[in-house]
Every structure is written in C-alpha cells, then in structure tokens.
C-alpha cells in the first residue's frame, strides 16, 4: 500500500467517524432537550399527519422561504436540488454494477454540476449585494460557499476535463466500505476533490449545516396545535 493510500484511507475513516458521531450527537441533543411549552407557529396542523405534511412542504419545497423571498428561494432551492442529485449520483461508487436509476441520472448530470456551481455562486453574490445579508454574513458563510464551489468545480473537472478513471475510484470506495483498502487514484484533481469533501464532512457537525437535521426538531414547525385538547407536560416543567 502506498503512503498516499494509507494516508487517505485513514483520513476518510476519521472524517466519516467525525461526521457520523458529531452529527448524531447533535441530533441526540436536539431530540432530548425538552420543549416545556406548546409553541407551534399558527395556523398549524391539528394532528400529526398534518405536521408531516407541513414538514414535507418545508423540507421538500422550502415553503416558508418561497413566500418570504423568491430570489433567495430560487438560489437556495436550485442549490439543494442539485446537491441532492449529485449525492445520489455518487452512490454509483458504492455499487459493483451501477443501478439503472443511477445510470439514468448520468444522462443529465452535466447540467446538474453546473447548476450546483451556478447556484452557489449566485448565493455568494447575493450575500455581497444585499446590504442586509452582507451585514449578517460571517467568515464561515463564505468559507462554506467557497468550499462547496471548489468541490463542485473539481468534480466537474474530474468528469469533463481531466477525466479520472472512475473504475479506480469505485475500487477505492468499495475498498473503504469493505475495510480492505485499495489504492487511491493518484489523479491530483480527484485527490483535491476528495480532500475537500472529507474536510466538509469533518466541519459539518460543528457548522450551520446542522440545519439539515435541526429543522426536524424546530418546535414552531413540528408541534401539533392541540394545546387545549391535550395537556402538554415535560419533565422539568411540572405542576405549580
């Protein structure tokens, strides 16, 4: 095993471990922190089926953002959809023979990569152009956008400009999954792409990216509006 392979095998395991443990620890915290009072943002669903529907609208379509700010919605929604497709597409590296559905995505992935990059660039630009978001933006907001743009750019490069041998990538990934390390493709663009993704995974649980899991625990969105019908009691908030 080459030094590079050893290094990246370890790096990958560490990054995935940090991501999984960190993410689950945050989610555990959100899940176990009590909500002493009923605070759904009304009008709210009056039963749990309605809450699921509300969540689907928020997570699937960014409904509140849609009604709030159409410009940010377009940028944000395109970015997230492109990201989702890109993640699904990458699942092919985890299968010996690529499933048909994943192969189908490949037929239009050329657009997806560019849309992802374009949407990120648009969001970056919006941060700078609107005085209110420029005021709010922190270093990490820019760092994350740049990191994602670099990941997108190197991804596009490996695919269309300096083609990486995806068979080798697949062998490497399958090796990681099955705990019998294979050689990492030495292609520098791929190495950069892979490094950035691992860095993103490590940063994820400590960042605002926790909105991905956190939204499901937002009491204003996930609570049923039934305060008069059902008495809501949590451990620390006991009877007076």
């Amino acid at each position: 095993m080459s030094g590079l392979t050893l290094l990246y095998t370890l790096f990958a395991y560490v990054a995935i471990a940090v991501f999984l443990v960190g993410f689950l620890a945050r989610i555990w915290k959100y899940a176990t922190t009590p909500s002493p009072l009923k605070i759904p943002l009304t009008p709210a669903p009056v039963n749990s089926v309605g809450v699921v529907y509300r969540m689907v609208q928020e997570v699937g379509f960014f409904k509140s953002l849609f009604y709030s700010n159409r410009v940010i919605w377009i940028g944000g929604y395109l970015m997230h959809i492109a990201l989702l497709i890109t993640i699904v597409k990458h699942l092919r590296f985890f299968f010996k023979t690529t499933p048909t559905a994943l192969a189908w995505i490949t037929s239009f992935e050329i657009y997806v990569g560019f849309i992802f990059f374009g949407a990120l660039a648009f969001l970056f630009l919006m941060r700078l152009v609107i005085d209110r978001t420029y005021y709010l933006s922190l270093m990490q907001d820019y760092v994350l956008l740049i990191l994602l743009m670099l990941i997108a750019a190197t991804g596009i490069l490996t695919k269309y400009y300096v083609r990486t041998d995806i068979i080798k990538v697949k062998q490497f990934v399958m090796g990681l999954v099955q705990f019998r390390p294979e050689a990492i493709p030495g292609d520098p663009i791929f190495i950069i792409h892979f490094t950035l993704v691992l860095l993103l995974l490590i940063y994820f649980p400590f960042s605002k990216l926790m909105h991905s899991g956190g939204i499901f625990f937002s009491p204003t969105r996930n609570q049923v509006d039934d305060a008069r019908e059902v008495r809501h009691v949590t451990p620390w908030a006991v009877k007076g």
């Binding site: 945050r26 915290k29 959100y30 922190t33 009590p34 909500s35 002493p36 009072l37 009923k38 605070i39 943002l41 009304t42 009008p43 709210a44 669903p45 009056v46 928020e58 960014f62 509140s64 953002l65 009604y67 709030s68 700010n69 940010i72 944000g76 919006m126 941060r127 609107i130 005085d131 209110r132 978001t133 005021y135 709010l136 933006s137 922190l138 270093m139 990490q140 907001d141 400590f206 960042s207 605002k208 926790m210 909105h211 956190g214 939204i215 625990f217 937002s218 009491p219 204003t220 969105r221 509006d225 305060a227 008069r228 059902v230 008495r231 809501h232 009691v233 620390w236 908030a237 007076g240």
Partner: protein, 522 residues
C-alpha cells in the same frame, strides 16, 4: 504603576456599569415616519436604534420577583451559567442557536427594523447578539476561531446591546413565519431577558407589573374596592345609556361562565367599551356569568421575560379563582398575549381543567363565545347601529401566530372577521401582506408598552399605520377593530402622532355592544 492601571480599568468598568443601569436621557420626540401607504425595505443604518432602552428595574422591584437587585459582581459567569441552563431546558433555544444559516429571509420582516433601519433589529441581527455569546462559550467553532467565527466574549458593551435590542423585540413571531426553519426570535429574546433578570438587570415596566399581579392580582395594581367601584361605574353607564340594568357580577359562585379579561378593560379607553360589550352579550344571552377579583387579570407578563416560574405563578390565580367560584366554563376577554398563554399554555401551567364543562373549549375566547351565540340566534343584532363605521381588523400578533379559535387552523382569523361582519355592514381587509398570519405587531407588545420607549413604539407601528392609512384613503375606513388590550393602548397613543384620530381604534366587542338589541328576547 500596575496598581494605577487596575484602578483606571476598574473606574472604566464602574462607569460602564453606571451607564448601563441609568435610564436614557430625556430627548425630544423623534419625527414620526411619513405615511406614504408603502412599506419599503430600507437600506441599513448601523446603530440607528442603539440609543433606545427601557428603564432598568430598581432593586426593590427585582428582589420582589426573586431576582438579584442589581448587576451581580460575577455577572458574566452567572449569565453563561444561566445560558447553559436554558439551553438544556428549551429545545427551541438549543436548536435555533445552531441552525440559522443567515440566508436573509427574515431580514426585512421585523417592524422595528423596517422603521429604525438598524441591522441589529433584523431578526437574525438581533439573534446574533445572543449567538455571539453562545459561540464563544458553547461551540467548538467559536472556541477555536473566536472573533473570526463570530464568537464574542460577554462584556459590558455587549450586555448593553442585549439590554437595548432585546427590548426592541415585541416577540410577535413574524420572523418565525418567514424563516425556512421556523426560528423564533421571541424564544431567543425571552431567554435573553431571563438571563438578564438572573444577573440583576431587569426591565422596570414588565417586572414592576409582574410584582403587582403577585401582590394584588392585576397589572394595574388596583385593589378589590377600586375594582368594584369601576364595575359599578360601568353598570351605571350602561343603564344610563340603554335604560336597562345590565349587571357585571363579581365573585359569584357556581356561575356558568367565569370571564377572565385584561384589567385594562376595567379602566382604560377604549378597553372599557369592550367590557360593556361582553356584559351586554352575557345579559342578552341570559348566561349566568361572573368576574373574579382573584383572577382580575388575563394578562401575564411572565411570558415577556421568559420566566416559566412567574408565568405559572401569575396563571395560578386563574386556577385559584376556578376553585373558589366553581364556574362551568372559562372565557377569556380581548387580549393578545393573554390569549396565547390561555390557549397554548394554561393547560400545561395550571391544567387539566377537569372541573370545567368538557363540552366547551377550555378556555374559550370571547370571540368564539359571542359568535357561537349569534350563530345560534341567541342575540338580537342591529347591524345598522354601526353604520357610521367602515371597519377593518388588525390581527393581533399573538392571536394570529400562536393560537387558534374554533376547530380549524386559521379560525383565529376567520372567527373575529365573521363576528365583525355579524355586527357591522361595512368591512374591508387591509393589504394582503399585513393581515392574518402575516400581520404586523402594533409595535407595543412584549413589554414595550412603556413611555420611555415611545419612539420605538411609534416607529414599530409604522407598517401597520401604512396599511391602515391605505384603507382609510381608498375605502374610507374609520374603525380598526382590535382584540388586544396592548394593541388598544398602543394604537390610541401613537395614532394621533400619525395624524389618525385615536377613536379609529377600538375593540370588536365595542362594535358588538353597540349592535346588540337589549330587552325583549326573540
């Protein structure tokens, strides 16, 4: 030499503390925003609202509530410890600290930002004051990168900003509506105020009132004799007006309905007119009802300071009144934040209401109650009594975004409107973006209804005033119906500054009271 430096430092700190604890100097009133009929997204002006702050509560007010009398010596440590406690007690706070992505969706939604243009009055800008401290002491990112990552040590200047800007939030939740994750700045400002109270930095207006409720049972601080006098006066007025003796029973045992209403209804104008309306409804429907001197206050300012303890203690008077008087139903008068606490929190705080009639909502809003009577034909209504009015309705923020009326989501918008339409002939809604769940706060909620914040209140009302001005111009609206004691007090005070007569503001039950035909039953 070293000693000298310490002394100078100490002196500066003392001076900063003194500045923090003193009231803002009296200034000439700031100009009222112009009525153009438009609500525009302003360019930000940093620090534009930094000079507003409410009076700090004196030690005797603080100590009565169990808070330190004045800023404790180790306040920073104590504040961080309190923050840790609250992060463990409130899912909302913990989740909302982490998940804001600063997308900007909320930035043009707060009435205080739209009018003051101060970016720290943007919801995410306000929350940032809290998050800076959170990052510093509770996040890996903040501990490693510090200021670069937006983590700021809790110092006196930041505390001064907390005191100023967390008292420029009326906890109206409009930001939460538009946030893709539902982040509720009300939860954050409540936590901030709870932390400030715990280190001895309280707001005079709110904390004084909480003390009065604990002592005397109502926000106005009136004793039983004064309350009885006021009620007698109302009875005389009604009889003089209509020739019919309408009674407002007090402390009647075993009545059908116990009415809990904001104490302002007993004294203030136009609140009193709604009280007359409720009395006429009960009288004409022939429903045996009572007020209670124990529960002579629906309002509960414990919520404004985020104190579960005080909110529960204030609410416990309602439970006590139910136990004393054994009513079958519990009805709540016109008050926004009171309805939030009654509707959403009472069951948790003082429930379950097993002793009440299970056929009716527990508690029930007076609008639900009256509309139900009208729909069942229990009241004779003469709409033409209100023909001089073209009416619009201001959705109170707490009612709109934190409660419900009736069985269906959105009943809190439809029931008051149906009730208005049942007692008037001319009704017009204000602009789409300013009604129902999108409503703007009156500008005086959340503990801001105090004189020294008048400039903030006038400005905060701007979006509502623009929308009202529009319908006044286009539809001849001359009455804005309200269901909140704070809205009523706020609007009657600030509307004249916009050149709108204070008589334009009034309660829904003021209209109901005028339209009810007293006397012979059908």
């Amino acid at each position: 030499m070293a000693e000298e430096i310490t002394t100078t430092e100490e002196k500066t700190v003392d001076k900063d503390i003194a500045a923090l604890l003193t009231s803002p100097p009296k200034r000439a009133p700031e100009p009222t925003p112009e009525l153009t009929g438009k609500i525009v997204k302003p360019k930000i002006v940093q620090g534009a609202a930094a000079h507003y702050k409410p009076h700090v509560a004196k030690p005797e007010i603080q100590e009565k509530l169990g808070f330190p009398g004045t800023l404790v010596e180790n306040w920073q440590e104590a504040a961080v410890a309190k923050m840790r406690e609250l992060l463990g007690k409130y899912k909302s706070l913990q989740v909302y600290m982490d998940i804001c992505v600063r997308c900007g969706s909320c930035t043009d939604k707060c009435h205080y930002f739209l009018s003051t243009r101060d970016p720290k009055n943007m919801p995410a800008g306000r929350a940032e004051l809290f998050r800076q401290v959170y990052r510093k002491y509770f996040t890996t990112e903040g501990k490693i990168f510090g200021k670069l990552a937006g983590a700021v040590g809790f110092d006196l200047s930041l505390l001064a900003e907390w005191y100023s800007y967390f008292h420029q939030c009326s906890q109206c939740r409009r930001c939460s509506l538009y946030c893709p994750y539902g982040i509720d700045t009300a939860e954050i400002s409540m936590a901030a105020r709870e932390i400030m109270d715990s280190i001895g930095l309280g707001q005079k207006y709110t904390n004084e009132i909480i003390g009065k409720v604990h002592e005397l049972g109502n926000n106005l601080g009136m004793n039983e004799a004064a309350l009885r006098n006021a009620i007698e006066f109302v009875e005389e007025e009604i009889e003089e007006d209509t020739g019919i003796p309408v009674k407002l029973p007090i402390n009647e045992e075993d009545a059908e309905v116990l009415l809990v209403t904001p104490s302002a209804d007993f004294f203030a104008t136009p609140h009193l007119e709604s009280l007359v309306g409720y009395a006429k409804v009960f009288h004409q429907a022939g429903i045996n009802w009572t007020l209670s001197t124990t529960a002579a206050e629906a309002g509960n300012f414990g919520m404004f300071i985020g104190s579960y303890y005080h909110m529960q203690k204030v609410a416990s008077r309602i439970k006590q009144a139910i136990e004393e008087l054994r009513p079958k139903r519990l009805v709540v008068g016109e008050c926004g934040h009171a309805w939030r606490i009654a509707y959403a929190f009472w069951n948790t705080l003082i429930g379950p209401f097993d002793m009440l009639n299970q056929k009716y909502p527990r508690p029930q809003h007076i609008c639900e109650f009256t509309l139900d009577l009208i729909n069942r034909g229990a009241l004779k209504i003469d709409k033409s009594a209100n023909d001089e009015f073209v009416v619009t309705f201001h959705d109170s923020c707490n009612v709109a975004r934190a409660t419900r009326m009736g069985d269906k989501p959105g009943g809190q918008f439809d029931i008051p409107r149906e009730l208005i339409k049942a007692v008037t002939n001319k009704y017009v809604d204000m602009e789409y973006d300013t009604i129902r769940e999108r409503t703007f706060c009156c500008g005086g909620g959340g503990g801001l209804l105090t004189d020294e914040l008048i400039d903030v209140r006038v400005k905060g009302a701007m979006p509502r005033m623009q929308a009202l001005h529009n319908v006044m111009e286009t539809h001849g609206v001359n009455f804005m119906a309200l269901i909140c004691a704070i809205c009523k007090a706020q609007f009657t005070k600030i509307m004249p500054k916009y050149g709108i007569p204070m008589e334009v503001a009034g309660g829904i039950h003021q209209l109901v009271g005028r339209a009810i035909v007293l006397g012979a039953k059908e």
